[in-house]
Symmetry: C6
């Protein structure tokens, strides 16, 4: 029932595993990016699709390991006769691509419907309505199949805001119970969730999930260049100049991959002649924010 | 009316008491694990059953002592003509197997119905509905029999969350009164509860119960190996390598038994040749979380 | 109308006052314990009875002094033509026997009905219902007789929990007013209350009552032995060994009398040959909790 | 329309002013105590009466000064053609006799009805009902007469509790407005209030009143002896022994006059031969609380 | 449309500006005090009148400058073709005469109706009722005339209490919006508000108003004497003695002008021979409070 | 579809870009100020107009850069086939002209309707009503056109007040979701928001927007003079004296451009001969507030 996420990835553009196995310096970077305007409905379930719209760049070995390990958990739920229920949490700073990695994890299990539960559909619902929706999604599991539930952005589900702090305790308590509740016999359930690390830490979510993956920001020049080179925004000549400019910084970088992709897209609007400068200046500003 | 929990345990696989009596180094480890797919309805009351699904590994003498002492309290409730009401609290970090130990404690008293009261059945109930349910469970005691009530996860009953902190004071106050309320004459009542140590400490629960058992995490290589050897995940050759790898760590370990069991189950999915490495790396990551 | 509490006590087993007067080292300990299964309905009013179920051990001179002083206040309310209204508060750590001492204090006044107001009857009542109940109990005083009201566990009446902290301000404010409100002319009213010292201190209750008695925990080997010897759990030979074992501890003890009585009852279930060891080990654990 | 409070006092027992004028060491102490069972309806308005039940001992020159100064404010409201509205606040620790001094202050104005507003009549009223009652009492002023309003125990009116802290902001805001609202032309209004100093300080009440009097506790042996000698609890021989016993204390005393009066009343129940000892021991305990 | 506030003042008693212009030591003090019982309906609009009942003493050059500058803002609203909307805030400690200065500021604009919005009319209104009243007062501006709105005591409007702190966020948010909302074209609006400096600072009100004036307390002997000499409470001989007595103090004074006026009025009730002493003693006590 | 904001600006008075390109010392200052009474309905959409009423002075190169960069984001939304959804946040201290810059940013996209959502229209609405309004504004996007939404003053939308702090979590959570929700395919959406930097920082808004611009206050004499010279309040002779007076200050300035414009408008009411002095004194007072 399970095939490797990396193999799925291989059907799109390149093989991460291979490149990662041969080189730790990441000389070539594999990207799992759905061809724009070429919908992959058959492979990626509807609803999860949108989390992969921006494409996926595997910018470091750490990311490759996260993909590999989440695949292992999915395989366990599919195969184990002892542990037929597991849960994965992707935490990390904002804009690090948590939802994208979660969506990729759902692809490990073939031909199943992924039920998505995110804040998008729950704006201004009452606590009770939210809990009812959560229960419906998490308790309606179908016999003899692997059920996958994607809880995107737990922060919004429990209406967490660190100012105060405020959150819906009713929804949180329901979630704490539901995340521990084993499905009925002969049902296999995999819960995949994303949450900001601030939220995950505040509510001690690390103890609630079978596996927790902390998605890191980009921190080295290699990380940055992996994404930049994949973006096709610069001429080949610019890459060298960019790398040397980026290497001038004494302290390490810390930026989410989505912020960097946004910046690169913005750079396309700028004068190609000053683009290297444009990106370096804005990058510095983004990091110092 | 009472038989020893360890004797019940002896009917499944091995005798803890014996092994513990002869050796403090725990050379052999006894496991109270119900044969999977062999329901033990007669021995373990329905409802409590699910807490024993994962099996029970008695990984240290401390755990054996907790089993023994909780048995003593149950015996007192059965036999004493002065103290016919007692309560036991199992506290500890998450995933240390508190509910499992609580379920084993209910087995000390023969042929009685255990009433279970856990958050599972109370999702999003109002405070008043919760209090009504609690009263029903705790006040409906039957004459001339030993009544056992299992309050699983008091944290969820009172909707405790340390962020804020928040909790239902109405449910807490009812619980504080009910836990102190002696049953009518000629009724024998044993309350067994589980709670996170954070919750137990915050609300001063140590003073509310006749006995409090603090269930510890695994902290030494012996503890870890006791569980690992019981898991049948490795070849005999691997055990030695694992023990020596685990002994390299300078500081002590701290991991809940359930987390370790999950990790071992996950290891079954990994390549048998690199499994020792797989477990050691993930264990290190789990502890540093 | 008033007789001495110690005389009532004398009708049960022994005379505290006498023994206390002759010796400050407490060589013999007097116990006010109602014979089990011999109801003393005539002496102790119904409702208060249950607080004396566990028996009463006068384990130190301090306790004797508290009994004596609370008797004096009761006598003042009976006799004084200037002060016909008084209130007593028993505070202290949990399990120190506050309610028992309060119940004994109600016995000072002969042939009167004691109205009891405790959390037991108020689970999950609304604030307004609680206040109404409080007013009814405290304002319904009968002419020309001494009225006694026992407010057991003020913590539960005001729903106090130090986490937050939370409490019902409506009930508290009503209590603050009612505790200061003098009854109509020619009515004599004695209010006897118990509260945890944490609660009493937090709400400044020391200023609200005519007399406040801080019920201490047991702290010396003499205190412990007074209770242990009264318990009839050990053989005479064991007492000496226990005293010498207990004397080994360098720092002082701190344990509520009810916790010790529970431990002694539990000890009855243990092997008589290892009982001294059993009690010493558990005592050490209880104190270090 | 105004006569001196001290003159009213003079009609009962003795003249404070005189004794205070001649001696600063307070050799004789004047007591304003209504003969018990001799109602003084004509002089002291009904409702205020109860605050004078315990009698009044002018135990120091500070107290005499407070009486004198509050009289001055009352006289100003009666006579001034510029300031026809004033307010007095008596603050201080609990049991210092604030309400008694407030009641005495109302006696300065002859033949007027004092409207009393205290928590006694407001138990568990809603905020809106309280505000309505407050407005009625404070805004219903009658033309051409001096109106006096006694707000006893502002703490209870605003439901203040320092734990949290909690209070009714709705009632507080109404009070803040009403205390500043000048009555219509040709109406003379004197508001007299009492509040704990904790409450007064927390809410900045010192700025709201024309005059604020901080009623002190007894702090010297002279203060204590003034009250004790007035109590007629001891024989003349005992007074000397008491004074010398009390003088042994190195640090100063701090006790409310009402607590001392209660203690003296309690002492009447004790053995006359050991009464000096009885009082000294309990006094020490009261202060160290 | 505008005339100078100082000129209006000049029509009552004396000219502040003149005296201030010639001397910085304030040898003579001008008082803007309406003749009592001589209503000035034509000059001062009804409603604002009451804030000027106590008279106005310009006790320092700072106060004169505040009057002058607030006049300038009013003139700008009347004349400018660019800025037809402005707002003034008078902050300061309690009893410093903020409302009086605000009322004087309303007099700068001739023949206009001042709409007053103060807590007096809003006791115990709901938040929504308050917001409706605020909107009505601030949005009902009449074309082609200068509209003046006096928001007296913003603390009470938003029900601010620093204990907690508590305030009505609904009213505050409405106020924050309304204070920034420019009136429709061709409407001229001047908002004049008073607030305690604690409230103004807490809510960052300094950024909301065009001009903010911090009304100071009296701090030097010159300030005090300016008010005292204006009060006509003392004989000419006393003034010298008072000034020398007041000069003895080493640290500076800090007292609101209203508190001093109250004290002087109270002094009228005291014996003229000891009046200097009376005032000095009470002044010292007021400051040390 | 997009033209440069600076070109629009060029149609009013002068070219910022040009002046900025040639000189970093800002010798001449370009002002984008709509001719008063000459409505520019065609260029600036109705609703946004009012934010440009006060005119716009580009007082430093930083401001010019903000205008330029926000233009770039708008261009990206118009042109990119990968990123058709972006959001801009203008933060900064009060009165720094955030809303004005936001309004200018809306002008980058030609012939589109800007939907404005500000607190002005939401006074005292319920949370649900606010969320409904927000959703309507943000989700009603029209196909094939660039949609622009201006969320003015997010502080007021979420009813944020740092005292407490208080805010509407319901509205905030809805905003957090809506700001991340990509519009349906073939819809282009640009969200432009303003918020105080206190609010933006507290709620971590920097991660929510594609671009964040921190609008600074004026801090150098050059900044101040740029605005002052543009104001036409002084004679040419005064400018030199002002610059030298302002240069005397040792520490740097920090004042919002709107506060300075208000001060200059107020200065018009003052005597032209002392106007330099008038402005310098008030400026000093404003900064020290």
């Amino acid at each position: 029932m399970c095939e490797r996420a990396s193999e799925i990835a291989a059907t799109s553009t390149a093989s991460i595993s291979a490149s990662l196995a041969t080189s730790s310096a990441l000389p070539t970077v594999a990207a799992i990016r759905p061809k724009r305007s070429t919908p992959q409905v058959n492979v990626i379930p509807i609803g999860v699709d949108k989390y992969l719209m921006g494409g996926f760049v595997c910018w470091s070995q750490k990311i490759a390991l996260i993909v590999e390990d989440s695949e292992l958990v999915a395989r366990m739920v599919c195969n184990s006769d002892r542990k037929q229920f597991a849960s994965i949490l992707f935490t990390g700073a904002p804009n690090t691509g948590k939802s994208c990695l979660a969506a990729i994890a759902t692809k490990c299990v073939e031909s199943t419907m992924v039920r998505v539960c995110s804040g998008d559909d729950m704006i201004a619902l009452t606590d009770v309505a939210k809990v009812t929706a959560l229960r419906k999604v998490l308790e309606d599991t179908y016999s003899n199949t692997v059920n996958i539930v994607l809880l995107d952005n737990v922060d919004r589900l429990i209406e967490y805001c660190p100012v105060g702090p405020k959150y819906s305790n009713v929804v949180l308590q329901a979630l704490l119970i539901l995340l521990k509740k084993t499905p009925p016999p002969n049902h296999r359930l995999l819960i995949i969730a994303t949450a900001s690390d601030q939220c995950a830490r505040a509510f001690g979510m690390h103890d609630l999930f079978t596996s927790v993956f902390d998605v890191p920001p980009l921190s080295t020049v290699d990380h940055l260049m992996a994404v930049i080179e994949d973006s096709e925004v610069f001429t080949d000549a610019d890459y060298g100049r960019l790398r040397s400019r980026l290497s001038e910084r004494s302290s390490s970088y810390s930026i989410g991959v989505k912020k960097l992709l946004d910046l690169l897209e913005l750079a396309k609007q700028s004068d190609p002649r000053t683009r290297v400068d444009f990106v370096c200046t804005r990058l510095e500003k983004l990091i110092s924010l």
